[in-house]
């Protein structure tokens, strides 16, 4: 056999060509992860250690290729391409896939991914969106064969009506589950806005951590997070949880509960409508009653006012009548007084008159006497008996007293 002399570089290329002949895809290596390191958030280095003997392989991977969260101590099955790095002269395995082995490793991986997504803010309460109170179009992502599908629709029909359910059938477990669920979300996104559901329901029945892997898958959790439509996730039984539950806008405990969370109960809403109408009716009743009271009040006020006015009028009339009576009495009195006064005036007048008349008579007599005087002064005399002029001697009898008026003076004389 000819001896060949090769450079180190060429030799390693030969080794690597030889290593490339190993059917990498067909071989799965099982072992335990030790010395797990992540550098610059991208490069993963760890050693895969044999469980039974002292043997280990140095492994290299990127986070782009290997998304399954792993850490030291986990039991894994990996596939990859062996290679000797020329620069370091170090043999390592370029990891293509990592699959966790056993419930313990799955549970651990689940916890790690949950923490990672939580740290990124995928579970934040602040981003949870509300769904319409009465959704009219619901997107449903689940398997048509699953009990979850029947449960969801049964409860939906029991509770509410008039909803259009757009169902995209998918496998909820097995190797097709993740790509199908991702495609379903994408399909809803691609619908014209007016045809998009107002809420998407992602649901399946309960199962083991392995059964639920699609609902714990990072890419599915991110699809739920990125959905432009609110997502409600309902998985399995009360106790089951999945990463999608935490990312979803609403977390339902079961598929039936998802239906309960999405639509109201028609009985409750019917009752609410009844109560609304009753309340309105009551309010109207109160208003009418209050209005009636106000009218009654106004009527009674008006009545009292009228009564008061009537009373005032009566009082005025009474006062007037009283005053008028007094006035009439005063009038009568005055008339009597006047009458009395008139009597007195008449008396005074007649007194004055008679006095005047007496005086006039004396004056007349005086005047007359003045006329007589001239005659008397010529020697005549006037004989009077009882102040009456005696014109004939027959008028006289012996014993009569006569008055004789002369031209100067007068005297009395007795008849013999």
């Amino acid at each position: 056999m000819d001896k060949q002399i090769l450079t180190v570089g060429n030799y390693l290329r030969l080794v690597n060509e030889t290593l490339a002949m190993i059917p990498a895809e067909a071989i799965t290596i099982i072992g335990e992860v030790v010395d797990y390191r992540l550098s610059q958030g991208k490069w993963i280095n760890f050693d895969l250690k044999d469980e039974d003997e002292e043997a280990k392989i140095s492994c290299f991977a990127t986070v782009f290729k290997v998304q399954t969260p792993i850490e030291s101590g986990m039991k894994v099955q990996i596939t990859g391409y062996p290679k000797v790095y020329e620069r370091f002269g170090k043999f390592s395995l370029n990891v293509e896939t990592v699959e966790l082995v056993g419930e313990g490793a799955l549970a651990r991986s689940y916890i790690l991914l949950k923490k990672k997504l939580a740290d990124e803010g995928l579970f934040d309460e602040s981003r949870k969106r509300l769904i319409p109170r009465f959704p009219e179009r619901i997107g449903l992502i689940t398997s048509a064969e699953a009990a979850a599908y029947g449960d969801f629709l049964r409860i939906l029909n029991n509770r509410w009506s008039g909803v259009e359910v757009i169902h995209i059938p998918v496998h909820v477990q097995g190797q097709h589950a993740v790509p199908e669920i991702l495609a379903a979300f994408e399909q809803f996104e691609q619908l014209p806005v007016v045809e998009r559901p107002e809420v998407i329901v992602l649901t399946r029945g309960g199962g083991s951590l392995e059964d639920l892997h699609a609902f714990n898958d990072e890419s599915v959790a991110r699809a739920v997070f990125q959905s432009s439509m609110p997502v409600i996730c309902g998985v399995g039984h009360e106790r089951d949880e999945s990463l999608c539950d935490f990312v979803a806008d609403i977390r339902a405990s079961t598929p039936s509960n998802a239906a309960e969370r999405i639509v109201p109960s028609r009985h409750e809403i019917g009752r609410e409508i009844e109560i609304s109408i009753d309340r309105m009716g009551d309010t109207m009743g109160i208003i009418v009653e209050r209005r009636e009271q106000r009218i009654n009040h106004a009527t009674s006020v008006l009545q009292r006012y009228i009564e008061q006015k009537m009373h005032d009028l009566k009082m005025t009339v009474e006062r007037f009548t009283y005053a008028f009576d007094r006035f009439r009495l005063a009038l009568v009195e005055t008339r009597k007084h006047i009458e009395r006064s008139i009597g007195m005036i008449e008396q005074i007048f007649s007194f004055i008159l008679s006095k005047l008349r007496g005086e006039t008579d004396s004056l007349v007599r005086l005047f007359a006497s003045f006329d007589m005087q001239k005659v008397l002064q010529r020697g005549f005399s006037i004989v009077r008996k009882n102040n009456k002029i005696v014109r004939a001697a027959l008028e006289l009898a012996p014993g009569d007293t006569i008055q004789v008026q002369l031209g100067a003076g007068e005297f009395e004389a007795d008849i013999k």
Partner: protein, 70 residues
């Protein structure tokens, strides 16, 4: 009024809720109240009718990823 299209359940219910709130919070005027009360009754009828008559409808979208089923 007659040309107005029938409201959806959600629209009718929301309007009914607003009316209820109005009755609960405002100083209700008799005439306005009567008008709103009548509208409330009308909306309640619409809601009840919709609750009673309509069924849910399920449409299954064709898969776009048939190739995945292999």
């Amino acid at each position: 009024m007659t040309t107005k299209k029938q409201p959806t359940f959600s629209e009718a219910f929301n309007e009914l809720e607003k009316l209820t709130a109005w009755f609960e919070t405002e100083e209700v005027d008799l005439d306005e109240g009567l008008e709103k009360f009548e509208r409330g009754l009308e909306l309640a009828q619409i809601c009840k009718k919709k609750l009673a008559e309509v069924e849910n409808k399920v449409t299954t979208l064709k898969k776009k990823f048939a190739e995945l089923d292999g």
